[in-house]
Point group: C2
Chain length 203, copies 2
DNA sequence: CAAATATAATGAACACCGTTCATTATGCAA
DNA sequence: TTGCATAATGAACGGTGTTCATTATATTTG
């Protein structure tokens, strides 16, 4: 039965088309401003068709989230390559912040947007797990070699992630306008802050 | 003309009624899930009436934000009273995190929600300025007495705020489910993390 | 090949949303 | 009491996510 094979292939292709289109539109206009209707328009299908391939808009979000986490992990692998554990940690920090600054809508959808993944934590572990592991492994090296003031790996990972996320997300929500800094200076300030932070926790 | 006085009083009272009702509903159900219609319902007026007192839903948000910042500042003043600058800093950190954990919807609306304050930065400075100043003053003491590894006050304020915000907001968005920790343990982990962080940047 | 069937796509409809505005009701001044 | 300014209304507009009876298409069967 070559027919059922083709059918299945067509089905996954259609799913892929919707996913890719959604990704593109989320990236450009953000999740909230991208409507199911507009996605349907873009692929020249009717709105109802989307629902034959995805349960709801959230499922589309999860799918795109997965891809986004994949991209972040790729960035880590490409940019955090130092053999010196501390330098590698600094590279991870820089990469994370740059990723957030360069892909604001993607970052939003990965870490800030509200979606009921509150319940389904498995999806989320799978999605973000690899990225978090990269950080944990990196810190593991540093702590084992006694390079940091922080001793608990999980707690240290949480702290460093929280700091980087705090910097990026406060900026994305324009909360740094409270400081007297020009717009253009912000990226460097964030990077510098992260580096100062890492320096402070380094022995 | 006592009439115009009363008119004016009634007008501000109505505005206040709407604001208070909105505050209550935002706190309970969140900003997104609270509709203008439902606010109108609650005060037994028609939806259109709201627009006689507020330009749009965002203006209502700003108003509530202002009150929320006021509450946070009150918490700071009440809970961060130590004369020891470092202990006071720790108290601020704990208060901030507890505030976020105990008022998730309020925290959301203050720091996470997207609203076009992107343009109007003055509003925001006025709103959050006092809270930020409290932190800055606190840090100023610490740095002047050479108690911290961080030397730039503004950068240090940014870092500490970012760390606390990172911890709270990652938790609010359930991103900490990635770690193998039971739900109940999270508050203590966040507090402990913040304390460990402050300890690490303390000389 | 034709008819029957299974599958895919449709798009109108539903219940919401924020917002506007012509219409109506109200309370005060003349 | 009449006229008028002000306040309140609620239907209407254009949007949203989502559902589902209907229609079109493609495959299998007789």
């Amino acid at each position: 039965m070559g027919v059922t094979d083709r059918k299945e292939r067509e089905k996954t292709e259609m799913r892929e088309l919707i996913r890719a289109t959604a990704m593109k539109m989320f990236l450009e206009d953000g999740y909230a401003k991208t409507s199911i209707r507009s996605i349907a328009d873009a692929i020249e299908y009717s709105p109802g068709t989307i629902y034959l391939y995805f349960k709801d808009k959230d499922e589309l979000l999860y799918e795109v989230q997965g891809e986004a986490y994949g991209r972040l992990l790729e960035v880590f692998k490409k940019e955090a390559t130092s053999t010196d554990p501390l330098e590698k940690l600094r590279q991870v920090g820089r990469s994370y912040i740059n990723f957030g600054l360069q892909n604001p809508e993607l970052y939003d959808l990965m870490f800030i947007i509200r979606a009921p993944m509150n319940v389904d934590e498995e999806i989320h572990k799978a999605n973000g797990g690899n990225c978090f592991s990269f950080l944990v492994d990196c810190l593991d090296d540093c702590i084992k070699k006694n390079l940091l003031r922080l001793k608990d790996i999980e707690q240290a990972s949480l702290l460093i992630w929280a700091t980087a996320h705090g910097l990026v997300s406060l900026n994305l929500r324009c909360r740094l306008k409270i400081m007297d800094q020009p717009e253009e200076a912000i990226p460097q300030i964030l990077i510098k802050s992260m580096e100062d932070y890492l320096a402070a926790v380094t022995i």
